[in-house]
Symmetry: C2
Subunit: 136 residues, 2 copies
DNA sequence: ACATCACGTAACAATCGCAGTTGCGGATAT
DNA sequence: ATATCCGCAACTGCGATTGTTACGTGATGT
């Protein structure tokens, strides 16, 4: 699989689930469709379960399904549930007295936070029910 | 050093250069100040040289200096020179006929391009001459 | 009851990108 | 000529992520 696969895998799977919200899906089936491994699927979907987006059930009739209607799950919910970050949070530099470094860090950190916020805002405009329709 | 260090290192160095544009700086000195290695500095600044932001000279009086006035170098110039990417370009998925995956990829790729564009646009509002001043 | 099935989790290997490091060649000033 | 820079290639080490195996836990059907 390619990079940033967690978000891709999650959205891909939720996109399918949005089409048949009742159906129970096993991680093995999801993995087969996505071309990856059941454990990987459980790892990723596990985060969505912790965030209350999915429900997992064990046993014979077990598997995964949406915890609420597809229209009530936005792409931002998924993004945030996975703790994804456009740019990794970097701690402020150790103060060895370089004013340039400190001013720079402030500027960049502020700007990146703003961009991250913009992304989340845009992601929240789309629900997983709309994934299938060609973007418009 | 921390992550995203290329951009940090580049901006940090250019920030200092903007204060004394005439002064020639050796990669060893830059590395010492930034807490890294001369070769790493040459790797990063080399990209900026290729992009026409810096000039490098060899030999005894060699070193690095800005290729043009600090006011004419924006943070976006630096970002683009380094070929930085908020999210790595991922090729469209192999068409194994999953409409959800394709529609999803289109949506996400479009949105990410838009965010990237926003970032570059915001970065272009600041020049390296302004780095020292506390962000305002 | 009990075998079966699916998730939950830990542990480890494989891979990838990146920083760090060493070494050597080419260019330039003294 | 020599010292001093940059340019570049090759290698190592580290951290993050994915892939894989193995085992425990809980729910279901017979």
């Amino acid at each position: 699989m390619k990079r940033n696969s967690r978000l891709s895998l999650a959205l891909h799977t939720l996109g399918h689930m949005a089409g048949e919200p009742e159906r129970m899906r096993k991680s093995a089936d999801i993995a087969a469709h996505a071309g990856t491994n059941p454990v990987v699927v459980r790892r990723v979907l596990g985060r969505l379960r912790e965030a209350g987006l999915l429900v997992a059930e064990k046993g014979h009739a077990g598997g995964w399904r949406l915890a609420r209607p597809p229209r009530e799950i936005t792409l931002a919910d998924v993004y945030l549930a996975l703790n994804e970050r456009l740019v990794p949070v970097d701690e402020p530099p150790e103060p060895h007295g370089c004013a340039v470094e400190e001013a720079l860090h402030d500027r960049v950190a502020t700007l990146m936070d703003e961009i991250e916020q913009t992304l989340v805002s845009r992601l929240s405009e789309t629900t997983i029910a709309e994934i299938r329709t060609p973007a418009g």
